[in-house]
Each structure stands twice: as C-alpha cells, then as structure tokens.
C-alpha cells in the first residue's frame, strides 16, 4: 500500500462519501500522485468485482414452505392459552373437590354417606378429569 498520507481517503472517495472541499482536495492530489492513482485503480477493481456479483434468486417454493411452517407454528401458539385454561380449570375443580371432602372424611374403615360427598364430589372429580383430558387431547391433536 502506498505510504501517502492521502491514501486513507481513497475508499471513502470511491464510495462517494467524500464531498465538498475534501473531495476537491483529494482530486487535486490524485492529479499529481502516481502511487495514489494506482491504489485507487486497484481498489476500483475490487469494488467492481464485488458489485458485479450476481443477485441470486431464492429457491422456488421456499417462500411457500416458510409460510406453511410459520402459519402452523402461530396456530400452535394460539392453542397454548386455551389448553392452559382447561388445565387450570381441571386442577381447580379437583382442588375444590379435595377441599370439600376434607371436613367430611370419615375415620378410616367407615363408609361415607354424607349427601355432599354423594353428589358434588363425583361431579367435581369427573369435571376436573374431563377438563384435563380435553387439554391433553387438544394438545395431541394440535
């Protein structure tokens, strides 16, 4: 590379980034500096080769394939809150059933005959299980 102190301005000059007085100063310098003229020519060749690289067309069908996958992922993401809702409902129903049962639990070995246990408990347990099953099958189907 030329040792000329003006050489640092050659690339910005080539990029059109030098304007006004700075550009004129460099152009005046180039008229009298053989080393900088040669360096500028070499840089111009590099620049031309980089600009001449062809712009490639993406593979056929790539956009459609990406869109298909993206749409499927977005749909799956939308299903997540609904599943969480079902799981939460199921868990709450089971927890409520547990809380309702606790005060009425008979001593070990005795049968249960409280009306609350006969009616509400199976309903809450089955409801909770149904919600959990819906969340599970919704997940596997999605």
């Amino acid at each position: 590379m030329t040792a000329c102190r003006m050489a640092a301005g050659l690339q910005p000059y080539l990029d059109g980034a030098l304007t006004g007085e700075a550009r004129l100063t460099l152009e005046r310098h180039l008229a009298g500096c053989e080393g900088c003229r040669r360096l500028l020519e070499e840089l111009r060749q590099v620049d031309d080769r980089l600009r001449a690289e062809p712009r490639l067309a993406p593979p056929e069908g790539l956009a459609a394939a990406i869109a298909r996958q993206a749409a499927a992922r977005q749909q799956a993401m939308r299903l997540v809150p609904r599943r969480l809702e079902l799981v939460t409902m199921g868990a709450l129903a089971l927890a409520a059933a547990g809380a309702a049962v606790t005060p009425y639990l008979p001593p070990a070995g005795l049968p249960t005959a409280t009306p609350l246990l006969q009616g509400a408990l199976p309903l809450a347990i089955w409801g909770g299980l149904a919600a959990l099953a819906a969340a599970y099958f919704g997940h596997t189907a999605g």
Partner: protein, 190 residues
Amino acid sequence: MIATLACRLAGGGSVEADLEARLWQGARRGDERALEELVRRHQGRVYNLAYRMLRSAEEAEDVTQDAFLRALAALPRLRDERAFAPWLLRITANLCITRLRKRVRNPEEALEAADVPAPEEDTLARLELEKALARLPVRYRLALTTFYVEGRSYREAAELVGVPVTTFRTQLYRAREMLRQALGRPEERR
C-alpha cells in the same frame, strides 16, 4: 390537471397503504397467504445476504428459513412494521456468524462448505474472489456483504451490523484492503 394527478397519486398511495396494512394484519393472524407474500417481499435480501456470507446455497436456504421462522414467530409482538426488515436481516447475519464460527471450530465442515460451487458462472476470477472472501474474518465479511448486497450508506449498514459507524468504516476499509492484496494488482494477474 396537476391537482387531479396529485389526487390520483394520493389515492394510489392510500390503496397501497391499505393493502400493506391488510398484509400485516393477515400475517399477524397467521394467514398463510399473507405470510407467504411477506416472505416473498423479503426473501431475496435475506437469501443473498446469507449466500454471500456462507458461500453455500444449501446453507443459505437453511438460514433463510430459520431467520424467517424466528422473525415471524415474534410478529404478533412487533409494534412497528418498519422495524421488521432490519430486524430480520440482523437475525440472518447473526445466524450466519454462528455458522461461520462453527466452521472455524470444525475445519472439515469448512472445507465441505467451501467446495460447494457457486450456482452461477464458475469463472476463474469468481473462484478467486470466493477464496479471498472466505479467508476474511467474519466481521469483515459481514461489513462487506451488508455494504454491497444491501447497497446501504455507512450509517445504515453500521446499524444493521450493530456497530458504531466508525467501527464499520474501519472494518470495511480493512476488508477491502485485504481483498485488494489477496487479489493482487491487475497487471500482475495478467
């Protein structure tokens, strides 16, 4: 006459803006056709950036796909649509950098990737340029690629790469200087 033309232009602009708004709405809802149109609009830039960074058509396709899927997954949370393209290109650049660094760690993989011929004309000069580019440090290659593929100003390219303008100019300067030395003087090559 001029007023009519201005009205038409304004009307045309609003139709275009309306279509654009619908496209974004559709894409956010996960509409496949809207998503495909959005990908079509940006895939050329993403693919060419990836190809010039990686010099492998197969890897460029993988990276394009990965970059879009990452960007589109976060689309419902994107507030300003103008931020989409620069964001997508940054994701692409980062994915390319990760792959290039992996190649450095696995030289065999680097050789495999470098052996893939360019899909266009395989002239001697082109191969020479390919080799010279492949030897550049990753950051320099990214600076060159964003500047030439995207045809951007120093400031825009620096923002895209995520470095200060002065750093970007230094990287670009050194990259071109390394290429100039690698490719030799024109008269020496004849």
